[in-house]
């Protein structure tokens, strides 16, 4: 009989692992993935969601099972069994979370690296002189994700972003365009240089899975490559005052042709387009 219950327990655990993995891989809780960063992020999310589902369901099942199985019958004033410790068991349940944590840590490091988090900060096509003068410049996550930035900076579209209470302003140095709506060509690496005029804001595009605080006195680079045409919200994610909830803009990801058309219609200096 103990064999039977052991087999039953093992079958339950297998079902839990398979079910949790299926839920993690198939239940989509995220918005559209519209940048190179987003698809990498979603891989991590699916793995964490799978592990989380398995652990949560398993642990809650343990608690609920104990409560039902070992509930006191009415009138029973006896005690339970006096077990105070069990070293092998305690080593086992110290080891399990440690292994899970190590796996999650290593995997998320790999994801972080693929997002470009560990690479040196590329210039992203911004004015070299101003970069050199500004010693304090920082890189947001994803900043390194653009391939070989130093050799191929012509391909990167630099845009300067100014955050202020309660709006984002976008300045295209090529063409000297100032706009309140960010237009970018699809599949083209973009480099934002973020600056704040007053308080801390944050630049967040949920569909790109990127967020960067815009800190006054601290210019910051944030790079990304959009992959799907469409209109996505730009949201300020750091409390910045009474109209914080209204501090939103839009990023329009469009095909190369329609981006060129928009650019031509708005550019003050047309000759710099390459």
């Amino acid at each position: 009989m103990p064999n039977q219950s052991a087999i039953f327990t093992i079958l339950l655990i297998i079902a839990l692992v398979l079910g949790g993995t299926w839920v993690g891989q198939n239940v989509n809780l995220l918005p559209l993935d519209a940048s190179t960063n987003a698809s990498v992020y979603d891989e991590l999310f699916k793995v964490l969601f799978s592990i989380g589902t398995i652990l949560f369901v398993g642990m809650v099942a343990l608690v609920v099972y104990s409560l039902i199985r070992f509930r006191r019958k009415s009138g029973d004033l006896g005690d339970g069994i006096a077990i105070e410790e069990n070293l092998p068991l305690e080593i086992f349940w110290t080891a399990v979370p440690t292994i899970v944590i190590l796996f999650v840590g290593l995997y998320s490091y790999d994801i972080y690296d693929r997002m470009g988090g560990m690479q040196a900060l590329p210039q992203g096509g911004h004015n070299h002189q101003s970069m050199i003068n500004d010693q304090k410049i920082w890189g947001g996550i994803g900043s390194g994700s653009i391939e070989s930035p130093s050799t191929n900076s012509i391909g990167i579209l630099p845009i300067e972003v100014t955050a202020l209470q309660f709006a984002f302003l976008f300045h295209y140095p090529q063409g000297d365009i100032i706009t309140g709506e960010l237009h970018v060509p699809v599949d083209h690496p973009i480099s934002l240089k973020l600056e704040s005029k007053d308080v801390i804001h944050a630049f967040w595009v949920p569909e790109f899975r990127i967020k960067q605080d815009v800190i006054p006195g601290q210019p910051t680079i944030l790079n990304f490559t959009p992959t799907k045409p469409g209109r996505y919200p730009i949201i300020c994610a750091e409390l910045c005052g009474p109209y914080h909830g209204g501090m939103r803009s839009t990023v329009v990801v469009e095909t190369a042709e329609s981006y060129q058309e928009w650019f031509q219609n708005n550019a003050k200096i047309t000759e710099t387009i390459s």
Partner: protein, 556 residues
């Protein structure tokens, strides 16, 4: 060296203290009176904080900012956070239960410094009234409970300054309490009682008090510098004057992350007291439990920058804080398994105290799992400062600490008052709270993942339905307070008489009358070396008789 205070010779001028209910409004030096003062005062502020939360949820039932003015909304969310943390959870899990129980557990007749203890409590009402009063003087602070500069420097100064003064007073109260607990636990133990024989709550309070004493002064210093920036136009954190706002964030979170453990470690301790009693089993893995508490204390100091992953911190720093934060899951996981092992094979009474404790375990597991996910830099970048984070920390501080506060009230109310609470109302309270809480906060994870930032009065209309579901959950939470209030008020007059030890528990607070006399025991303090000596294999049928015979020996 331990100091034992003999009976009838205490530092308590009991003849000067008012008797009856009036002593709860006096500068009483009795740790039990002070504990109740903390508890009732904290609950009063919980109702105010809850009313503010309801106002937030009403505003968020529609995508437009239409219920209150935008700056009032920011004041409300700032007050809600500050009140719930500094006036409800921290004072109640530390001040209320710590004061009431710790002297019993170490076999002392009072805390080490009774006057300091009373001062620590009496700092709280003025600080709270100051904070709430600031709303009526030109508006309360509106930069969130984090008070990040430059927003906190540029918003109206009066409210922000009163907020700083209030938090400084509450921090002072917290430090006084922490010093008192450390001194009481380490120096006031009854002779013959070893550290490793103390009930687990003592270890939790020792760990918490170390966190309080080491980290709160950092917050105090930071807020003083912030007040200089506001009043004297210095430039510590003002970028316009060459200051650095990120330095503020480091200093702030150096306190405010440990603050999470200050709210949750005592809750761990309380659950470790409640579960063995009602499952009639020893606390499983006492030694590993002690080490995991201390591991959480050490790790708790090394994780603060995970609140700043989007602030432009360098890559190596992000990695370090990811790893340190993730590893907190290991000692926390050990505690979870120890609690389950305590339940396993027991004779569990499914009463309100156990239901709230197990509700805590379930909620805390959920919050812990989202916490490990949030510790991962690439995951956090997307959801930082969104409703995902709001949901996560409410699972920790409400689903965790507040559930344990309710569980503890159901467990210790008979000791506090000498009367039992109604179990039916208690179970009804649990069901309403558990459903309301999960309905309110679980959907917020989805909101955060899909693009709703925190601290907003207006949002994308696509989130309207889910926000309304969340608000219904909040309404149920608010209603769940009613059966609880009715229960505690009417049971105080009409509840069944509890007797000294209705739960047949072994810890020392049950080895005296309910409510206990001044100085805790009529005779000498009992020596309880096995506070969890339940279980059928330890010789005699009832262990209560063993500890009673020990008591007899002491008397002779």
């Amino acid at each position: 060296m331990t100091i034992s205070i003999p009976p009838q010779e205490s530092n308590q001028p009991s003849s000067l203290q008012p008797k009856g209910w009036l002593r709860y409004f006096s500068f009483s030096l009795d740790h039990k009176v002070i504990g109740i003062q903390y508890l009732v005062c904290g609950f009063f502020f919980y109702l105010i904080g809850g009313a503010l939360a309801s106002a937030i949820r009403i505003e968020l039932t529609s995508p437009l900012s239409d219920f209150m003015a935008r700056d009032v909304y920011n004041q409300v969310l700032t007050l809600h956070g500050t009140i719930m943390i500094f006036l409800w959870i921290v004072p109640v899990v530390n001040g209320a239960f710590g004061n009431y129980l710790i002297p019993f557990y170490v076999g002392a007749r009072d805390m080490a410094f009774p006057r300091l203890n009373a001062v620590a409590f009496w700092l709280i009402p003025p600080a709270g009234l100051l904070l709430i009063g600031s709303y009526f003087i030109n508006g309360a602070a509106q930069s969130g409970w984090t008070a990040y500069p430059p927003l906190s420097i540029t918003t109206p100064a009066a409210g922000q300054l009163i907020w700083i003064i209030s938090v400084l007073l509450l921090g002072g109260s917290s430090i006084f309490g922490g010093i008192n607990f450390i001194a009481t636990i380490l120096k006031l133990r009854r002779p013959g009682l070893k550290l490793m024989q103390l009930p687990m709550f003592c270890w939790a309070m020792l760990g918490t008090s170390i966190l309080v004493v080491l980290s709160t002064p950092v917050l105090a210093g930071t807020l003083v510098l912030l007040s200089f920036d506001i009043v004297a136009h210095t430039g510590f954190f003002n970028p316009a004057l060459g200051g650095n706002v990120v330095v503020y964030q480091h200093l702030f979170w150096f306190y405010s992350h440990p603050a999470v453990y200050i709210m949750v470690l005592p809750a761990f301790g309380l659950v470790s007291e409640i579960l063995p009693v009602h499952s009639r089993k020893p606390l499983f893995g006492y030694t590993t439990m002690v080490y995991s508490i201390m591991a959480i204390v050490v790790l708790g100091f090394l994780v603060w920058a995970h609140h700043m992953f989007t602030s432009g911190t360098p890559p190596w720093m992000r990695l370090f804080f990811t790893i340190a934060t993730s590893f907190i899951a290991v000692p926390t996981g050990i505690k979870f398994f120890n609690w389950v092992a305590t339940l396993w094979g027991g004779r569990i009474s499914l009463n309100s105290a156990v239901l709230f404790s197990c509700g805590f375990i379930v909620n805390f597991v959920f919050g812990g799992i989202t916490g490990v996910a949030l510790a991962q830099v690439p995951f956090d970048i997307h959801v930082h400062d969104t409703y995902f984070v709001v949901a996560h920390f409410h699972y920790i501080v409400y689903g965790g600490s507040v559930f344990v506060i309710f569980s503890s009230i159901y467990h210790w109310y008979p000791k506090f008052t000498g009367r039992m609470l109604s179990e039916n109302l208690g179970r009804f309270h649990f069901i309403l709270t558990f459903i309301g809480f999960n309905l309110c906060f679980a959907p917020q994870h989805w909101l955060g993942l899909n693009g709703m930032p925190r601290r907003v009065a207006e949002y994308d209309p696509q989130f309207e339905l889910v926000n309304q579901i969340s608000s219904v959950g909040a309404l149920i939470m608010a209603l769940s307070t009613l059966p609880f209030l009715w229960n505690v008020i009417q049971s105080a007059f009409n509840g069944n008489i509890a007797g000294d030890n209705p739960w047949r528990a072994l810890t020392p607070e049950w080895l005296t009358s309910s409510p206990p006399p001044v100085e805790n025991w009529k005779g000498p303090a009992p020596l309880v070396t096995k506070p969890y000596g339940y279980g059928v294999n330890i010789g005699s049928k009832s262990n209560l008789s063993t500890s009673k015979s020990e008591l007899e020996e002491e008397k002779q």
